[in-house]
């Protein structure tokens, strides 16, 4: 980060907060109406009964669980970029961290709605929480769904705090530059931050600890989501590989989501001076690596299943490879593996546009992957007499679409009220602490500490 930052940096990054055009209101109204439609559809589903969905015997989980796993997967973007890159002192993360952490927070919130939406009696979802009550009911800690509750709560709390802590100095910046109601609100949010050396040290230490803590939590969250499947004796669910497979897939889809979000922000908020092509190239390389890793996991799983030749598992195997799910399956392979590997390996195509195209494909592919894990296995369990099929119904499609609108809406609103690039982190990157910069690049300057 030794290239000079534009002198108008603070103005550029605060402009979205201070100036609002009619396009913003139009966008919010559009997205808001889709989200409202989604909420209305859910209310309709609760009113008319869960039978409005396409769920049947034996396919008792379908779109909603696919969406759940998909959004929790997208939420792993922030953890990789913010936490891991912070811990390895990768300076290029600085303009990217807040974009990524925001995706995590909102994707988690959306993903966490789905276990409630898919319940038969959603108004009783709080029974998953352990609290003393006169019904003498405690949740069953042996159930992966209860693990989901704890894991997602922990990850959501951790991510929100991880997002909020570095926002405090930026809130102080906005507070000092504004007047009236805005000053009051941002003053409250800044929690009285001043910027003393003590506060900076405590903040940096806190961020270090949070980064170290949030990584195992993120790994555990998607592992526990995968345990929803692997703990049930369903053909091709009961795989020991699901934990790492799902975590790799989550990071994969998370990076794709991040690239799309960053490219959109860069274009619409005019952040070309802050989000450079090199950022996209670095993320593109990470996406390529995750695509290869995903391909490796799929290959290992399918090869092992094929060699195992278990009757029930082979039924599911063939129905995805050659049977009714084959078109979806091969689409998934092409957009998750073939296209990203080609586009992202060649430097010529690893441009911003190329990364975005690959990422859009990956989002589609990863959604299909979750669907193809859930539905084919459930429709072909052990007793052929009870095999079934599944067709999504309008309520499921509408709710799925509205979650994408919800994500976009939350993101747009966030970028309106908080600078999407951490101003103080960018500035601090110009003169990183000697502890962070390697000795070879370290330049002696007057008054600097002697390492």
């Amino acid at each position: 980060m030794s290239e000079g930052l534009p002198p108008t940096m603070t103005e550029d990054l605060l402009r979205p907060l201070l100036r609002t055009s009619w396009r913003f209101y139009l966008l919010v109204a559009f997205l808001g109406s889709i989200v409202a439609m989604g909420l209305g559809t859910w209310a309709y589903q609760m009113y008319r009964g869960f039978g409005m969905t396409g769920i049947n015997n034996p396919v008792y989980w379908a779109f909603y669980i696919t969406n759940f796993v998909f959004w929790i997967g997208i939420s792993h973007a922030g953890t990789l970029i913010s936490a891991i890159l912070r811990l390895v002192n990768a300076g290029w993360r600085r303009p990217v961290t807040r974009c990524a952490e925001v995706i995590t927070a909102f994707a988690l919130m959306i993903g966490a709605m789905f276990p409630i939406i898919h319940l038969g009696r959603p108004w009783l979802f709080f029974w998953l929480m352990p609290y003393p009550n006169q019904r003498m009911i405690w949740p069953n800690f042996r159930s992966p769904l209860v693990w989901d509750f704890f894991a997602i709560s922990t990850y959501l709390s951790g991510s929100l705090l991880f997002l909020f802590l570095p926002m405090i100095p930026d809130f102080a910046l906005i507070r000092d530059r504004s007047t009236g109601l805005r000053r009051k609100i941002y003053g409250l949010l800044a929690l009285g931050w001043r910027g003393t050396t003590k506060q900076w040290h405590r903040l940096e230490s806190a961020m270090q600890i949070m980064a170290i803590a949030i990584i195992p939590v993120a790994v555990s969250v998607h592992t526990i989501v995968s345990f929803d499947f692997s703990m049930a004796p369903v053909p091709m669910w009961h795989s020991t590989m699901f934990g790492p497979y799902f975590v790799a897939g989550a990071i994969f889809s998370g990076i794709a989501g991040l690239i799309i979000a960053m490219a959109t922000l860069r274009k619409f908020l005019h952040l070309e001076a802050y989000l450079h092509p090199v950022h996209f190239q670095n993320l593109g390389k990470l996406l390529l690596m995750m695509s290869l890793l995903w391909g490796y996991f799929v290959f290992a799983e399918r090869l092992t299943t094929w060699y195992g030749n278990d009757v029930a598992e082979m039924n599911v195997f063939y129905v995805t490879q050659r049977g009714s799910f084959a078109p979806l399956y091969w689409t998934m392979v092409v957009v998750n593996f073939v296209i990203p590997v080609i586009v992202l390996s060649l430097k010529k195509t690893r441009t911003i546009a190329g990364c975005v195209i690959a990422s859009c494909g990956v989002c589609v592919g990863m959604w299909l992957e979750r669907f193809l894990i859930v539905v084919p296995s459930l429709s072909h369990k052990f007793l052929p007499y009870s095999w079934g099929h599944y067709r999504p119904r309008p309520v499921e499609l509408l709710i799925t679409v509205s979650t994408f609108a919800a994500m976009a809406l939350l993101y747009v609103l966030f970028a309106k009220f908080v600078p999407i690039i951490a101003i103080w982190e960018l500035k601090a990157g110009e003169h990183p602490s000697p502890a962070l910069s390697p000795v070879a690049a370290h330049e002696h300057a007057l008054g600097e500490t002697h390492a």
């Binding site: 009964g49 015997n57 034996p58 038969g120 009696r121 009783l124 159930s143 929803d228």
Partner: protein
């Protein structure tokens, strides 16, 4: 099957919902055709909840709605069910059913409802309970009369209705009971035994079959 529906207040879902795979037959009779015309043979296999000793549906229920009783039954507590449907996914026998809509019995069918069995509302899972209401009733009678339960005191609705006496119910822990004797028969096998669910239902192969 009809006896089961009548005894346990199981709704009929209608042809449209049944076509979508939502029929709720706690006990289903599977039919298998063997051979070519004119030497066709028909085999029946009634499948209901196997009340597994190592039931995969039990540990996955987040609210303990599906759990094991001291007597060895797999209990389904409708009031605790929040409808995650995980138990139905985990069940390898596909014998768990979900109430997709609030059931309706058009008059005068509502007069046929069994007062000993609750009517389930939308959003809960249900399955064969081995007519637990009849088991409890017999136990209460035996206690009132200050005696033990005898073999034959409890008859599930399906066993009682079957004209061919193909279904036999009793106490497996009583080695003299008919069901315990039959389960030890060399003709006996269990469904999906190699999954390790320890099902309690023994299927006896037809005499003359392997």
């Amino acid at each position: 099957m009809t006896a089961c529906h009548a005894e346990n207040n199981i709704p009929t879902v209608g042809p449209a919902q049944a076509a979508r795979g939502r029929a709720m037959h706690w006990l289903r009779v599977e039919r298998y055709w063997e051979g070519e015309f004119p030497d066709v043979r028909l085999k029946f296999r009634p499948v209901m909840c196997q009340q597994c000793d190592a039931a995969p549906c039990e540990p996955v229920c987040p609210t303990y709605a599906s759990h094991h009783t001291a007597e060895g039954l797999n209990a389904q507590v409708y009031n605790r069910c929040i409808g995650t449907r995980y138990c139905a996914n985990a069940c390898p026998y596909n014998v768990r059913f979900f109430d997709f809509f609030n059931p309706a019995w058009p008059k005068p069918l509502d007069m046929q409802l069994n007062p000993d069995v609750s009517v389930r509302e939308v959003g809960v899972m249900e399955k064969c309970t081995f007519c637990v209401q009849r088991i409890s009733a017999a136990q209460i009678d035996a206690k009132a009369e200050k005696r033990e339960l005898k073999d034959g005191d409890v008859k599930t609705a399906c066993a009682q209705a079957c004209p061919a006496k193909a279904l036999v119910f009793g106490d497996l822990n009583d080695p003299e009971s008919e069901v315990a004797r039959l389960s030890r028969s060399p003709r006996g096998s269990k469904l999906l035994e190699d999954l390790g669910t320890l099902p309690k239902v023994t299927y006896l192969a037809r005499q003359g079959d392997a």
